[in-house]
Symmetry: C2
Subunit: 209 residues, 2 copies
C-alpha cells in the first residue's frame, strides 16, 4: 500500500523495486506443481497468468475485498474439506489497512475464517513470515545489518522484521493508531517516527548502521 | 438445523420446544440496553423486531450465509474499531453445518475473522457456551442428570454438553465425518449412535439415567 502511494505521489520508485507476495507465491506454485483456487484482488490476477487454475488443489487468499462473498469463501472451504491434502496459502497476516474512506479488513481475518472452519493451518507467503523478508533481502543482495524496515503495521512490518533480525521502525501515518500501537504488548519498535521523511532524516543523522 | 429438519419431516415438536440462541440474545440486548448491528440470516431477523438498531453500539453475528459480504463485514469491523466499548456477540462457535448440496461455513469462522481484524473477543450466546446449556435446562425445568445432548457437532454439541456437565452423544448423520469426529483429539463422546432413532433406542434399553 505504502509503495503504491509513493509511486502515486511521484516518489522515484520503479515497479521492480517493489517486493510483493504474489510473485513469490507464483514461484512456489510452480515449484510444487499446484493448481490454485484464487481469492485475490482483481488487480493481482494478472500476476497469476499462465498458472493452471483448473481442477484446483490448493487455495490462495489475498486482500481480495469484494471478492470475499460467502459463496467464494464457501467454495474455498469445501475444497479444503474435500481434498485431504489441499493446502491453504495466505499472502500475509495483516489485520487491516487504511483507505481514504477508513480502515479496511485485510487478508488476515479471512485466512483466520478459513482456518477455523476447515481446520487447515495456512502457510503464509508475505509479512510477517521470516522467509518473505529473507527473499526480499536476497533479491536486493543486502545483508540484515544494511537494512531496516519502516512500516505502519506494528505486527506484520515492525514485529515481522525484528523476528527476522532486522531493525523495525514504526511510522505514525497510514493505519497507525497511537493508543494501540505505541504501547503494543508484544512488539517494541526500534524507533517511532512521524512520517517516512522523518524516518529518512533519523537514519541519515544518526547513521543507524 | 436438526430441529428444523425434524419438524419438516413431521416429527412431533412444537416451536416453543426449540431452544435457539436468538431469543437469548434479544433478552441480553434488552437487559444491557444495547443497539445491535445485525449480521444474521434473514430468517432470524423477525426475532429481533422491536430492538432499536439505529446508531448501533454492538455487533451480533449469526450463520448469515449470503449476508456475509465484504462490505457488511467491514461495516461491523469499523464499528468495533471506532467505538472503544463496542461488544461483539456470536450466536455460536460452529465451524460448519451440512446442507443438501454440501458442507457450509457456519458462524464460527466469520466471528474468528472479526475477532482477528478488530482484536475484540466475542461473547458467545449459543453452543458450546455453558450459560446457553444452563438457560436451556432452566427453561425446561430439568436437572443435568435428567438430560443428555445428541448432536452431529463433536465440539459444539458433544464437547459443549460435556463441559457443562451433561452427557454428550454423537450421531453419525448430518455433518458427521467419521475419520475426523470418531477420533477427535479433545472430545470423547459418551456414546456414538448411527442416527437419532438409535440414540432413543439406546436410551430406553440402557436406561442411561
Amino acid at each position: 500500500m505504502l509503495c503504491e502511494k509513493l509511486i502515486r505521489i511521484g516518489f522515484q520508485l520503479t515497479e521492480n523495486e517493489i517486493f510483493s507476495p504474489a510473485p513469490v507465491m507464483v514461484k512456489l506454485l510452480k515449484e510444487r506443481k499446484l493448481r490454485p483456487m484464487l481469492l485475490v484482488h482483481p488487480r493481482a490476477l494478472p500476476q497469476f497468468e499462465g498458472i493452471d487454475q483448473s481442477n484446483p488443489n490448493c487455495v490462495v487468499v489475498g486482500d481480495a475485498t469484494d471478492v470475499f462473498t460467502y459463496e467464494k469463501l464457501n467454495d474455498a472451504f469445501r475444497l479444503l474439506m474435500e481434498q485431504k491434502r489441499a493446502s491453504l496459502f495466505s499472502l500475509g497476516r495483516g489485520r487491516y489497512y487504511k483507505e481514504v474512506d477508513g480502515l479496511c479488513m485485510d487478508v488476515g481475518g479471512f485466512t483466520a475464517a478459513l482456518e477455523y472452519a476447515s481446520g487447515v493451518h495456512a502457510e503464509v507467503v508475505g509479512k510477517p513470515e521470516k522467509t518473505f523478508f529473507a527473499t526480499a533481502l536476497s533479491d536486493m543482495a543486502l545483508s540484515k545489518s544494511e537494512v531496516l524496515m519502516i512500516g505502519d503495521d506494528i505486527v506484520s512490518d515492525v514485529g515481522g522484521a525484528q523476528e527476522f533480525g532486522i531493525r523495525g521502525v514504526l511510522v505514525r501515518t497510514g493505519k497507525f493508531i497511537a493508543e494501540k500501537d505505541e504501547n503494543h504488548p508484544l512488539v517494541k519498535p526500534d524507533a517511532i517516527v512521524d512520517d517516512l521523511a522523518q524516518g529518512v532524516d533519523v537514519i541519515i543523522s544518526q547513521r543507524m548502521d
